[in-house]
């Protein structure tokens, strides 16, 4: 395996190397925006968590010995738009700190608080106060999809207006408070022609890490893969010419993708993570909550009164790559890094199962692999070193 420490492009920072228990609180199902690709199909104003339910969830997490296998915890607050409930989140975090201290729980000094927000409320006084209070334990991601044109194609208010200008106002404050921060970009079809300029634009705003996903839905038209490959190749050239690989990170380019499978592991962490909704029901991840699903009922694995039904978790904990993949995927020469989402699989499967992988993304992955090969081979020639390597595939979610 070759290491080249000047190349940072595929070395994202990840707290505790993915070994923490990831717990999601769905504090609200409401949001100010109506993004066109949003998987939360059932957004509404009534689904709001109250403090009593949240307390019960914290008590449950700290009481159950089985969770101690994970030495750390990530408390992830999600919506809808989580910052709409910043006061509640503040109370939940205080309660977590107090209780874990009282119980002398190992998570007391090994926790992180994390949000992914649309950024519209970032400069709000209550949000800023929360940041001041929790800064050392906090990761905040503001979602910005790239240039104004690309962002406003997707991330719109219910009346169709784009949200870019209002988010941008808060970006500078955010990057000044969290210089090592990252953002998440979703590609869903019409926005392919803007990929290159969007990544460069986000970097120019001071956000050094860009994580990009193509949606898992049946959203791709013939020719999209070629356009995608073209965009990534142009981006690759720009990164190499301007030596941007030394300072910036972009999840499109990774040395671990595009190899045959070596290990039979599941991509997705559903079931190892947990999500609590406002009713006190427990889910394997937010994508199994009814409001995230288009075609199927939610999968509830327990509730805060009775705890988790271990039987309901068994499929999630034993699900592996081979049992859900078509033969074509198992035997694919460029399989590694081809992502899936268990919730999306379940939603799109012909029968209500998590054991069937949706492969709408296949052509897009292959396009990405070609552009990725182009990037690493060319960069390797320039740097006079072999930069390719293989690695097991697991998801960071």
């Amino acid at each position: 395996m070759s290491q080249n420490t000047t190349v940072k492009i595929d070395r994202p920072g990840s707290w505790e190397d993915g070994r923490a228990k990831n717990v999601t609180f769905v504090v609200t199902e409401d949001c100010q925006l109506a993004c066109r690709y949003c998987y939360l199909v059932g957004k509404n104003k009534s689904g709001r968590m109250n403090f009593e339910t949240a307390k019960k969830a914290v008590d449950y997490l700290l009481r159950e010995e089985k969770f101690l296998a994970e030495k750390s915890v990530v408390l992830d607050f999600i919506g809808g738009e989580p910052l709409l409930e910043i006061e509640l989140i503040d109370k939940i975090c205080d309660y977590f700190k107090l209780k874990s201290y009282e119980l002398n729980h190992p998570w007391f000094d090994s926790y992180r608080i994390s949000f992914s927000t649309n950024g519209l409320m970032y400069s709000d006084k209550r949000v800023q106060e929360f940041i001041r209070k929790n800064k050392t334990h906090l990761s905040i991601q503001i979602t910005i999809d790239g240039t104004k044109v690309k962002h406003d194609t997707q991330r719109v208010y219910p009346d169709g207006r784009g949200s870019y200008d209002n988010v941008l106002k808060n970006i500078r404050l955010w990057t000044s408070q969290f210089p090592e921060t990252s953002t998440k970009v979703t590609i869903s079809g019409d926005d392919i022609p803007y990929i290159k300029e969007s990544v460069l634009h986000i970097w120019s705003l001071g956000i050094k890490e860009v994580n990009i996903n193509a949606v898992f839905e049946d959203a791709w038209k013939p020719g999209d893969d070629e356009l995608f490959e073209e965009q990534l190749t142009e981006l690759a050239d720009e990164i190499i010419e301007k030596k941007l690989y030394k300072e910036y990170t972009c999840s499109f380019f990774s040395r671990t993708i595009g190899h045959p499978y070596e290990q039979n592991v599941n991509w997705c962490g559903a079931g190892k993570m947990l999500a609590f909704d406002f009713k006190g029901d427990i889910y394997p991840c937010i994508r199994f909550i009814e409001f995230s699903l288009q075609n199927r009922k939610g999968i509830i694995v327990g509730n805060l009164d009775k705890g988790i039904d271990e039987n309901r978790l068994r499929p999630f904990l034993t699900l592996d790559m081979v049992s859900q993949s078509p033969d074509e995927c198992i035997n694919c020469d460029v399989a590694s890094g081809c992502a899936w989402c268990q919730g999306a699989n379940y939603d799109f499967a012909e029968t209500g199962t998590i054991f069937r992988r949706a492969t709408y993304i296949c052509k897009m992955h292959k396009a990405r692999v070609r552009a990725n090969n182009y990037f690493w081979n060319k960069l390797g020639r320039r740097l006079k070193t072999d930069l390719r390597e293989t690695n097991p595939d697991t998801c960071q979610c």
């Binding site: 068994r314 499929p315 904990l317 049992s323």
Partner: protein, 333 residues
């Protein structure tokens, strides 16, 4: 890949249950009956595809016209106690109440015995009786979902007691057959129910189901009409190869009931903890019995080994040790 071998036809909504589900308790004779046309279609389908049929009977005879059609196809009749002596070629399903009433097993030598956990205490008496007649018991436990820690340990004790009885009655080559203890002595590979693979069910509504349990759960579970090309969506999930827990298991006698899997874990291919622990209690008891039988020079289980295991639920192993891609590719059901 194994193929379809037989068809189960439920003649009436109130037909006897022979497995892990309850049928409709009462049924108006005519109202709950499969229509003659649908029965005709189902029988023709069986004849054209070389399938044997298991007919599930209600408490009454279905009438001459139906009986004529039934006789046209190779079949087994599965009947409730009430029709026990009526047909010479029938398998009778008995419930605890049937045994209590008569205090013995009558009418047939091969029986299906459906008991819930509190009723299991009558099992030793039933085993003695059937052993005396040289018959076979197929036990079906009606409430697998209730087998938590305490029920499992009671079940273990019961299995040990019945093993003792069987050992006493065994000869050099034979042993009275009870599925939950003696099947494992004879098996070298999985012998599961295989609903949807080796058999399908035609319900009184004339449509196809994976097994009767899915019909009684909801008509929405139908996999379609009777026709030549049957397309079961995600059929692979019924196969052993696609069950990460079961494919590493050697409790070969287990029914591996896909209906209970689906009810308790939400997935056809994933067994519940209760199911696995129950089957492993049986597997362990069979293993202990085998040791004793070997001392008695028993030759009926030649070549069979039942190793001691350090776990009672293969789930624990499936979670820890991932099957390799190569093992999966080489897997042969």
């Amino acid at each position: 890949m194994p193929m379809l071998k037989y068809l189960i036809i439920i003649l009436n909504d109130a037909s006897v249950s022979f497995c892990h589900y309850e049928s409709a308790k009462t049924g108006k004779k005519e109202a709950g009956m499969i229509s003659y046309d649908n029965l005709n279609k189902a029988v023709a389908f069986a004849l054209k595809n070389n399938l044997k049929v298991n007919f599930l009977y209600p408490r009454f005879r279905p009438g001459k016209k139906y009986e004529k059609l039934i006789e046209d196809v190779e079949h087994v009749k599965i009947v409730p106690r009430k029709l026990g002596g009526v047909y010479s070629d029938a398998i009778t399903v008995l419930e605890a109440g049937d045994l209590r009433k008569e205090n013995k097993v009558t009418g047939t030598e091969n029986i299906i015995l459906r008991l819930s956990s509190p009723e299991l205490k009558i099992l030793p008496a039933a085993v003695k009786e059937i052993a005396r007649k040289g018959g076979r018991i197929n036990l079906v436990i009606k409430d697998v979902e209730n087998f938590g820690d305490s029920k499992i340990s009671e079940y273990r004790k019961l299995l040990a007691e019945i093993s003792g009885l069987l050992i006493k009655k065994s000869g050099e080559n034979s042993i009275p057959e009870v599925n939950f203890l003696t099947d494992r002595l004879m098996l070298e590979s999985m012998n599961n129910c295989d609903a949807g693979i080796t058999h399908l069910t035609v319900a009184p509504d004339g449509r196809l189901y994976l097994c009767p349990a899915f019909y009684y759960e909801s008509g929405e579970n139908s996999i379609g009409e009777i026709r030549n090309e049957i397309n079961i969506k995600n059929r692979q999930l019924l196969e052993l190869k696609y069950s990460p827990v079961c494919r590493i298991c050697d409790a070969y006698q287990c029914r591996r009931c896909v209906f209970l899997n689906w009810k308790l874990t939400g997935e056809l291919n994933t067994p519940s903890r209760q199911q696995c622990r129950m089957s492993h209690a049986e597997r362990e008891a069979s293993g202990n019995m085998l040791e004793e039988l070997k001392k008695k020079n028993f030759k009926g289980a030649k070549g069979i080994e039942i190793k001691k295991l350090g776990y009672d639920d293969p789930f624990e192993i499936a979670v820890k040790n991932r099957y390799s891609i190569q093992e999966f590719k080489n897997f042969n059901s």
